[in-house]
Amino acid sequence: MTTSPMKQSIKTRPVIRHLCSGEGWGRALTWLVLVVGAIIMAAPLVWMVSSSLKLEQRVFAFPPQLIPNPIRWANYVDAMTYKPFHIYLKNTLFVVLLREVAVLLTSSFCAYGFARIRFRGRDFWFSVVLATMMVPYVVLMVPSFVIFSRLKWIDTFLPLTVPFFFGGGAFYIFLLRQFFRTIPEELADAARIDGCSEFGIYARIMLPLAKPALTTVAIFTFLDGWNDFMGPLLYLNSPGKFTLAVGLATFRSVMYTRWDLLMAASAAVTLPVIVIFFLAQRYFVRGVVLSGLKG
């Protein structure tokens, strides 16, 4: 697009309007609304952290203190040692890491097939992928439990990990397929002429190029696994196998009124998610956008 005189005159117009009309006030009002909204949105998290650092009795003070005095870091130690949170953490990491391997390998593998190979029945199977995305997980909750208990998988990590080795979930296949389709076909053609098989193209060309998309998938898989409550609630019975989500829920049921410790444990479980968010912010936005706009 070339910059025509017409376009330039349009560009200067907002400035004039800004001076003549109440645009400046509108802008200030917009900003004010956003700031108030941001304070409301941030308040619960701030309050969680603030409560988690207070003395047991100080959490009941009115008006609530924003910055605790004294700051009691030991709440975190108390909470984490009252229940074996280090075991919950170990279990959670085990489940999450296995899921990462499963999802990253198999969803990209399936996605390559859907994106780049023309075979009979491809469109049918891809519509099956889309259809499974629309089915609420609740519908399959009861029969899946029956099946896993038949397989004697209850109270093991198998129901929480094994199913992810089968394509890793329709959403990720969909997301990676969209990404693979944006990579120029010529790259693969050149490799084909050199005698590279489709598997070689997938492993040596597509996977390295798909790093940004794979990072997005890895982050969402991490969040899913870390935050999952229903799965561990249904399939894990012995406390030694609990994940953080279930561990925190049981901690709540025994520590009914110790809000200082409950907030410390909640903040500790939330913190890694927030750290990951800040480390990988652009991948988050990309994932949210891919899931929203191309759906």
Partner: protein
């Protein structure tokens, strides 16, 4: 046999085999973890079974029982009410916030981060946090109301207040929808607005005739996903109120969970699940039929 070998030698045949090898994990997963459970579920709805004694075929009894089950109707009412209020409310708020943010305000990244963060807080931590915020004696919400001179509300003890409290809690997670809207808004080419301005469109006309039509696929997507997610709400009702007070927060999936895993009524729970499935499917189809035609698609595909 030779025909197959011959076909495999042809590039088309080889491509078919390669393609199916690539998507084999999905097909196998679809069979094991989707089709088999779905068929099991169809079998389950006709059984009276507690997973211990042998199943007992009862025909359509599970569905007949639903009709006279007061708690089923209660859970359906609660969940519908929750969805009808919280989904449109959070959609409108998220959209307005995205519009405000799209005016090139200063500090947009910081705003986006603050609004988005709550929606990634783990569900259990979120529930524990809100149990504390909604605490009638020492919670943040009542402390705030008290500071502006309002009385204490017993959010989690009064049947009339518990569901509104849950809706309020759900609004805290509107950030993900807002980020989707914002990305959509930022993707609208500036020329459209410039053209509208030349045609004499004011702010309202631009919103009505440019922004909303171009955003309609995104709005539509958020509506569908919002409804599907909202009908499956579970953790808050399970952890904060345990369905109470007086079943005021007995969400559908919570009631289903109790039937399956507390009362071990597997057949009845499966019937509940199918009813939920048809409700969600029915709603989705209705929305596609009546609202889908209003959606404006800029280019096919």
């Amino acid at each position: 046999m030779t025909a197959i070998v011959h076909w495999l030698r042809k590039p088309e045949g080889r491509r078919n085999v390669t393609g199916y090898i690539f998507i084999a994990p999905f097909i196998l997963g679809f069979l094991f973890w989707f089709l088999v459970p779905a068929l099991t579920s169809i079998w389950l709805v006709f059984q009276d079974w507690n997973m211990i004694s042998p199943p007992d075929f009862v025909g359509l009894d599970n569905f007949r029982r639903l009709l006279s089950d007061k708690l089923f109707w209660q859970s359906l009412k609660v969940t519908t009410l929750y969805t009808v209020v919280s989904v449109p409310l959070s959609m409108v708020l998220a959209f307005l916030l995205a519009l405000l943010m799209n005016t090139k305000v200063r500090g947009i990244t910081i705003f986006r981060t603050i609004y988005y963060l709550p929606s990634i807080v783990p569900a259990v931590a979120n529930a524990v946090l809100w149990a504390w915020i909604l605490n009638s004696d020492f919670g943040l919400l009542n402390a705030f109301l008290r500071s502006i001179g309002l009385p204490k509300f017993r959010w989690l003890q009064e049947p009339e207040l518990a569901l509104p409290a849950m809706i309020l809690m759900s609004l805290w997670g509107l950030g993900w929808a807002m980020v989707i809207y914002l990305a959509g808004l930022q993707g609208i080419p500036e020329v459209f607005y410039e053209a509208a301005e030349i045609d004499g469109a004011g702010r309202w006309a631009k919103l009505r005739h440019v922004t909303i039509p171009l955003m309609s696929p995104v709005i539509f997507f958020n509506l569908i996903m919002g409804i599907i997610g909202s009908f499956q709400v579970f953790t808050a009702g399970f952890l904060i109120t345990d369905g109470g007070p007086q079943n005021a927060t007995l969400f559908y999936v919570l009631y289903l969970y109790r039937n399956a895993f507390e009362y071990l009524e597997m057949g009845y729970a499966a019937a509940l699940a199918w009813v939920l499935f048809f409700i969600i499917m029915g709603l989705t189809l209705l929305i596609f039929k009546y609202i889908g035609s209003l959606v404006h698609y800029e280019e096919p595909g």
